[in-house]
Symmetry: C2
Subunit: 106 residues, 2 copies
């Protein structure tokens, strides 16, 4: 799978979908932080926000990896988790779309 | 200074002032987090909240140390930083108050 080639057009589609997913996920984390912070009235609740952000930062740092050798698997995960809708990556080659859809449904 | 004895009455005063200071400082951090989170619309701003909380957690973990051997110095710092008002620890022995006030003003 790492052998797949990405055309210039595919790279543009991929970049746009990837950036949008990253932005959406960060917006969702920020929303959760706002909810937690609204109720944080002691240090236990405060450090719970810190723990949450530590976990999410680690998770997103690992997840959002734009190397083309792993990008297809990144898209599988983002589609599976709902951060990318398959129609956002329409225009990728049939074999890539088949792989992403097939694996995302597993 | 670590030789100072703390009477039962002094311990009660100290505990109350210490807990109130800790609570105030956490409330101030929470307020700052709410301000930052209200404007966090990208990942840079989001991880800035995380960095801020990491720094404050480390700082408060070091600062709030209730061992009697270091408590006077903790109070010096908390008075200097404004988390404790000297009148909140009225009732401590004269030598303790002199030390705290004198060092806090330096």
């Amino acid at each position: 799978m790492s052998e797949m080639k990405w055309s210039k057009h595919e790279k543009e589609i991929a970049r746009r979908a990837y950036d949008a997913a990253y932005q959406r996920e960060c917006a969702a984390i920020a929303e959760k932080v706002r909810e937690m912070a609204a109720k944080a009235d002691d240090r236990v609740a405060l450090w719970r926000i810190h723990d949450y952000l530590s976990e999410k930062r680690k998770e997103t740092d690992e997840k959002y990896d734009y190397r083309y050798s792993v990008l297809l698997l990144v898209f599988v995960r983002l589609v599976r988790e709902g951060w990318i809708k398959p129609e956002e990556i329409a225009g990728l080659s049939d074999d890539k779309m088949r792989t992403i859809r097939g694996m995302a449904e597993q």
